[in-house]
Symmetry: C2
Subunit: 300 residues, 2 copies
């Protein structure tokens, strides 16, 4: 049974590996690190890259917080209010905003929670292209499907559906991007041991660079116009809307007085809102928008 | 006793008056109008100005919606669930984002609600300068105080405090701007008749142009640097954070499936997020930030 120390160490070394891979791909900017401590116990390593050759703004955060379990977490975990129990929450969370409109935004999160006998894993990885390239969307989903299928035949279909439901901007009737996988409260049961759940979460974390970097390399040399750039800014506005209105991690962080700069590193470097922007009928922008208005099956 | 028709007509003609005043001040752009209807009854006139000589993006919205009172509004008004009762909600709401970093953002809202015997007025007006000029902050508050004092000696102190509490970005420990006045559920009681409440709300609405236009005229010809512009974009990021995370009107609109483009016209045309931006020690940006970190008494 993997100890919490082992899990925490995995997330910490995953942060190192991912930051090194992204720095190498960028070739210009490097991550700046901020260490922070939580007064009640634990802390984190916020790492931010800015103004890179390709990554305009991105954060890869590791955190591990512990101490007496706060009331709202007890409630969530079904722990009686009068029980005093320690908790641990550790994980890695990242968002990358590229400067190039044809390079997609990416988000990943892998995390572990325990309090007493209760434990679970959660996380996911999803892609938000400013322009949807169907071939690339398929590549991304097939990649995730392969990672999932090694661990359970149900994982990909179940977690793809969960991502489609979660990464949805209700007031726009738009998906945030092309989705990916999302999962929460993966604990032990008749079918899965803790080792097996952890092995899956590890595989998801380790699949990040191979899922994302090909999409960076495919697109970074493409030329683009000022119109492409403007569309990118509008899509980033939608990204900000999702994160500030719906994202549970963001809400959770803000409500629990988390470190605002670490939580909001997910926000885009620059975003635009234009009243009632409607793309031209036969434009790339319009076809992207139509793809975002439906739930698509990308893996086939 | 002012009829709902009279109140609705006042808000509608106030929209005309304010749009005309803002167009005249801008001198270049004009408002574009979108009429919309609510399937259950009523609708609105959304008016948006974009890319003006001074107003980069702004909306002045009139709406009047009615029909059977929705459940959540019954709850809010304390009306029994099984009672079928018609409601009316009408008002004017505006947000203006100037292109000039020394011209402040302004927001105003005046509204009326009734269902059966229950009625109330709500609203407010508040200023968000990118750079705080203490003299202008005092001018703005003194102006509002004068409007309030004619109607009740308690209005300004009470509603100023309410605005300070409401327009607060908790996760940043910052006020959104320099505040103003905010009030809600002003109904009839021993001290105030409906005529008197309406007279106050009318005075607030009619004070808008004289409160805001001097601040536009004072600053529009000032020269500014690229640094000033960047700071403006960062402050607009904060504005977007407030509106998407805390603003009740925005939440209410999004949750009730309102017209997203009308609700989110309050968002800035362009906004920026930079990780952990800290202004230089003796800069104008730093003194503005320090003023936003405290609740100030501006009127004296």
């Amino acid at each position: 049974m993997p100890d919490k120390k082992v899990i925490e160490d995995f997330f910490r070394s995953l942060q190192d590996k991912i930051c090194a891979g992204l720095e190498k791909a960028d070739g210009k900017a490097t991550f700046k690190e901020d260490l922070w401590e939580r007064p009640e116990g634990g802390g984190g390593r916020t790492r931010v890259i800015q103004d890179g050759a390709i990554f305009e703004k991105g954060g890869v955060n590791f955190s591990s917080v512990h101490g007496p379990c706060p009331e709202f977490l007890k409630q969530e975990a079904g722990i009686p209010v009068n029980e005093n129990i320690p908790f641990l929450a550790t994980g890695l969370s990242l968002v990358i905003h590229p400067n190039h409109p044809f390079v997609p935004i990416i988000h990943m999160n892998v995390r572990y929670f325990e309090a007493g006998n209760i434990w679970w894993f959660g996380g996911g990885i999803d892609l938000t292209p400013h322009y949807i390239d169907v071939g690339e969307a398929k590549f991304f989903h097939q990649h995730l499907k392969k990672v999932c299928d090694t661990h359970s035949a149900n994982y990909y279909p179940d977690f793809k559906k969960w991502a489609d439901e979660y990464f949805f901007i209700k007031h726009r009737n738009e998906t945030r991007g092309i989705g990916g996988i999302f999962f929460d409260r993966l604990s032990g049961n008749d079918m899965f041991t803790k080792e097996q759940r952890f092995a899956f979460v590890k595989a998801v974390g380790e699949s990040f660079l191979t899922a994302y970097l090909p999409l960076v390399e495919n697109n970074r040399a493409k030329s683009f116009t000022e119109d492409n750039k403007q569309w990118q800014l509008l899509r980033r506005g939608r990204y900000a809307e999702f994160n500030l209105v719906y994202d549970r991690g963001t809400k959770f962080g803000l409500v629990t007085n988390g470190r605002a700069e670490s939580i909001l590193m997910s926000l885009p470097p620059l975003a635009k809102w234009e009243y009632n922007h409607i793309p031209l009928p036969n434009s790339l922008e319009n076809s992207t928008l139509r793809l975002l208005n439906t739930i698509n099956t990308w893996e086939v």
